[in-house]
Every structure is written in structure tokens, then in C-alpha cells.
Subunit: 331 residues, 2 copies
């Protein structure tokens, strides 16, 4: 059953093409056929849009489907490749990681042709699709356990020129937050790999929880703004409305900006994303589970900042992250 | 290790008491100690408030903790018993069902002293706590896979007098929706058992997804309104603000009001809860996963109605529920 990854469509062919990226089978599962859309209008930006890297983040696959509906009418030049679902087994299982091998697709790049299924997906993307693009939008969301604002994000990049270009691209989404996000756990990420190949790579992220029609409209508007900035489609970029406001801010968050739970128990959120807070403001309360007499513990802001992410009300372990703070970026 | 369920506090003792409901151990796990709060101010309503029946619905446990903070100052008469977490193993695992035996606590009432842990919890509640109350508020939420408005709900009750009393009690929460909910899968539910014992039993439910500070404030306001209606605390009941509106409507939904997915694929929600829709309006779109050429399928409203619940954007199977419609109740 082993084979080599291949495309059933020719990405160089002009106009609209639909087909599949075939990921070879192995001992763990049969080959996977990932639907691919390609719209080649010649000279201009070369953009890859991907979704469904994590199977419980469905904004991306849905917005990717919407783009496929209206891009053929709207795109004036350049090339766009769209893969709505990078990880079909994870999406079918509504699972962050691939249920077959338990791996996180966003930690195994550039993958391996001889690895387990998640590594084979990463390998096929890295070798056959990524080289066809100069810019990548990977459509994520922040997951079910967190509240998070609509945001475009990038991790810090050592190459200053690529960092500047990437941040400008991220800001072009005009989402409520553009986030420069220092993250300790980056080896094997799709963006880390793409950055190493000189690509401009931006993740869109979204609030956790239910994927609803209003959130999808904001998400789609952000991607459309970025397509306008790349001059792939014409139009006027506009800030989407989020919580009755049209606004945007560029923030940075460091690993040290994560607030951790002081003990196991039920975390009660007492702030909302984008709240501007002073030192000492209440972020949340940790309630021990075993007793109603033992005191609950207040979790307070160590410095003035903006709330960038808040854990959902749920049981947490000691030292588990419950909030991420951020501040306006200084160049 | 087997024993009999017992309370470490005397619920008849005046004033505030804190202790535990001890659920005996068995072959599957050690005994469980469920924290219990009791506030006995003599004559008046006898109310039991429970949360954490499902381990991924944390609004209830958090609001229950808040009540424990302010009730000692506010309660003027009657008795209130609060058990913030009915199912500690499920809450620790952020799991709807008990991870130890895989059972749904809300399907095994009245439970069994010789059963597995979930059945032993139900048995302890049924025998030692439920008889101490005339009214029960069981604090749920609608789960992670759905958007759902803040609501108080009851299933239909054959006893017309109890039905009327229960619906009045549910309306006293003054949440955006009071829902009379016909549900096929009711055997073993806590409310079905409590109704059979002549109790007024109301569930509070809440939108799926992230448990945030604004949702918690609405939820707490609803419970406070109901406490005022029971004359346990003084004050003026007020409609909480939800989506910039203060309003309330009493709706009913039947099993036949569930819309099902016509095929497996990714469900894209195209409406929001509380939308008033006409026959033929678009509820959502079903996108097949395997191909970008095969058509997506529109899911439309069969009749004029109010959207009561919408499934999150996610992969669904054929015939899986994707929306619940409702209409104003007619007496």
C-alpha cells in the first residue's frame, strides 16, 4: 500500500482546478485523499490557505469552503491554493490530535514519508504544496478550553526582514488583535518550518468554544482583508465588528505572561478577553474541589496589561495555565 | 470498603453547616466525599441546588460556589442545600460521563447502592438529599457542541398541577428562554425521578462552549431571581441582559423539531440562537468532506419558528441533530 505522495491536479494549470493531495497509506491506515482547490490567474502573489490542522478547530475548514465559493469571481491575479482540511481523521473525530497515532500535526513538520500517518501528512504538505506558495495562512482556533479574541498571530522570527513582513501581513487581517506570541513549544510547527523556508506564514486564531455564524463572519472578513492586501482580490479592507466595536491592536505576549493555577480545583474566570487591567486586578478564582470550608484563591494580575486569553471555567491542575496577558508591542 | 451512604452534617441543624455526602466505595473506586452546604433558617421553602452532574458543564459548580458566598447574609427563611459538584470524577476529567464506568449520571436515577460508582452517587442523592427538598434547581449547561441561550427548562410532566407549578418556577428565573422540552431519552433522568416524587424540578441550561465571566453573571442572576420567587431572599427580580436585550420568552420544542444532518460532513451554522425564522430560511450548510466538487447541502427551516439550539461548526454524521427549533407555548 505504500506509495509516494502526489497531487491529482496540476497546480500550474490556469484557472480553477479541483483535485486531491494523496497521502500514502501505511501500516496504520489507508491512503488519505485531501481535497485541494487551486485558482491560478498568473502573475502575482502565491498564497496557500490551510485549515483543519487540529480536528476540533472548524472555523478554518468552513471559512476555506466559503472562499472557494467566491474566489473564482473575485480573484484578479496570482495563485491561491486552498486545502480546507489538512487532517481529515482528526476532524472526523473532533480531536486536536490525529486519533490514529495520537500525534499533533502542528508538531511534526516537516514530517517524514516513512512515519506514521500524521508525519506522512506533514511530509506531503511540506514537499508538494508549500513550495508552490510564498505566503501561507493557516486557519486555526484557540481550542475549546479558552476564550480568545479573533486574532492573527505569528511567533517571533529570527530573520528581522521576514519578521517585519510577517507582522505586516498579520496586521492586514484587521482583526481585533494582531499577536506576536512567544511560545516555548514550537519545534515541529508548520509555521516554524515555513519560516525556515523563507515563507510569510500567519495563523488566524479564534475564540474557543462553539463555532457560530457570527464568529465565522468575522473570521472570513479577516481573511478577505488579507487577500486584498496581497492584491489578489479588489475591494476595501474593513475592520469587522467584534463586541460592538471596530478596532485593532497589535500586542505581544511572552512565556512569562502566562498565569498559572496555584492549586488543583475549579477555575472561575473573572475577566474577559481584551479587558484592560491594572496590577492587582482579579483575573479569576481557584476553588478547591474537596471542601467548601477551605478558602478559594484569588488569581490577580502581576502587572498592568491586556487580557489576551482566559481559560474556560473548568477543573484545572496545579500550575496549569489559566490566562495569558499581553501588552502593546514596542518596536 | 463497602458501606452505606451518609452525611457528615445534620441538615436539620439551624444556620450554616458544611460537610460531605459520603458515597460508599466499591470495586471500581474508593468512596467519594461530595462537599455539601446547608443553610437552615426554619419555616419556608426547602430548596436543593445541584451542579456538576456532567463534568464538562461548569457553570453550575461555579454559580453554586458564588451562592454559598452570599446566601448566609441574604437568606431570610427556609432551607437551602447546595451540592456544587454531584460527579467529582467527571468534573476532574472534563467529561460528560463518569470516566470510571462510562455512565451518564443523568440517566441512572434513582441509582442503586450496589451498582457502579455513578449509580451509587445517584442512590446517595436520591435517598439522603432529595427527600429534604420540595424544589430542586439542577444547574447544567447545554454542552460544548451546541450554541444555546441562557434558559430554564423542564420536560413535560403528566401531573398537570406539578407541570403548571414547575413551569411557573422555571419562568421565575427570568432568563431569555423558558423551555418546555419534549425529549425522548428521559428514563433515569434526575428530574424524571424527582417529578415522580412530587418535587418541583427545574434545570438551568446554558450556551455551549467556553464558560466565561459574562455568562456566569447571567446564570447567577437567573438563580437569584428564582430564590426571590421562592421568598428565600429579598430583592427585586430583574431580567439579565443577554445580547443587549432584557427579555424573556416561554417556548416549547418537540422531538420532531430537531433538524438532522442529511449526510456526513462539516456542518456550517448559518443562524444564531433566538433568531426568528420563516419557513425555508437557511439554518446551516452541510459540506461533504471528500470532495470540493460534490455539492454542499442547504438545511432549511421546515416551518416558521425560533432557533432554540444550533450545533457548533463541526463534523457530523448523517442523521445527527444540527438544530432545535421552538415556538411560543400555547396553553
Amino acid at each position: 500500500m505504500n506509495g509516494i505522495p502526489h497531487l491529482t491536479l496540476d497546480l500550474d494549470q490556469p484557472g480553477v482546478n479541483r483535485g486531491h493531495l494523496v497521502v500514502p497509506g501505511g501500516a496504520d491506515c489507508e491512503e488519505l485523499w485531501l481535497p485541494v482547490f487551486s485558482l491560478n490567474k498568473g502573475e502575482g502573489s502565491r498564497l496557500l490557505i490551510t485549515g483543519g490542522c487540529h480536528g476540533d478547530e472548524l472555523e478554518g475548514p468552513i471559512v476555506a469552503r466559503r472562499l472557494i465559493e467566491w474566489l473564482p469571481e473575485a480573484q484578479t491575479c496570482g495563485r491561491v491554493i486552498i486545502i480546507p482540511v489538512l487532517n481529515p481523521p482528526a476532524v472526523r473525530a473532533w480531536s486536536r490530535n490525529t486519533p490514529i497515532d495520537g500525534l499533533n500535526l502542528n508538531r511534526v513538520f516537516p514530517g517524514s514519508p516513512d512515519g506514521s500517518v500524521t508525519e506522512r501528512i506533514a511530509d506531503a504538505i511540506s514537499r508538494l504544496v508549500l513550495p508552490m506558495a510564498d505566503t501561507v495562512f493557516d486557519l486555526h482556533s484557540f481550542g475549546l478550553r479558552w476564550d480568545f479574541p479573533p486574532a492573527s498571530t505569528t511567533h517571533p522570527i529570527a530573520n528581522a526582514d521576514l519578521m517585519a513582513k510577517t507582522l505586516r501581513m498579520a496586521e492586514a487581517f484587521k482583526l481585533p488583535v494582531t499577536l506576536l506570541w512567544e511560545h516555548n513549544d514550537t519545534p515541529g510547527m508548520f509555521d516554524t518550518w515555513a519560516h525556515s523556508q523563507g515563507k510569510v506564514f500567519v495563523c488566524a486564531e479564534f475564540g474557543g468554544g462553539t463555532v457560530g455564524s457570527e464568529a465565522l463572519a468575522i473570521y472570513e472578513a479577516g481573511v478577505r482583508n488579507a487577500l486584498i492586501a496581497l492584491e489578489l482580490v479588489e475591494g476595501k479592507a474593513e475592520y469587522p465588528i467584534f463586541r460592538q466595536r471596530k478596532s485593532s491592536q497589535t500586542l505581544e505576549t511572552r512565556s512569562s505572561d502566562e498565569l498559572k493555577s496555584p492549586a488543583p480545583g475549579i477555575f472561575e474566570p473573572r475577566c474577559s478577553v481584551l479587558d484592560e487591567i491594572e496590577q492587582g486586578d482579579l483575573i479569576g478564582i481557584l476553588h478547591p474541589m474537596d471542601s467548601l470550608s477551605a478558602g478559594s484563591i484569588d488569581i490577580r494580575a502581576p502587572t498592568a496589561s491586556v487580557v489576551c486569553a482566559v481559560k474556560s471555567g473548568m477543573h484545572v491542575e496545579a500550575d496549569e495555565a489559566v490566562a495569558m496577558l499581553a501588552r502593546p508591542i514596542k518596536f
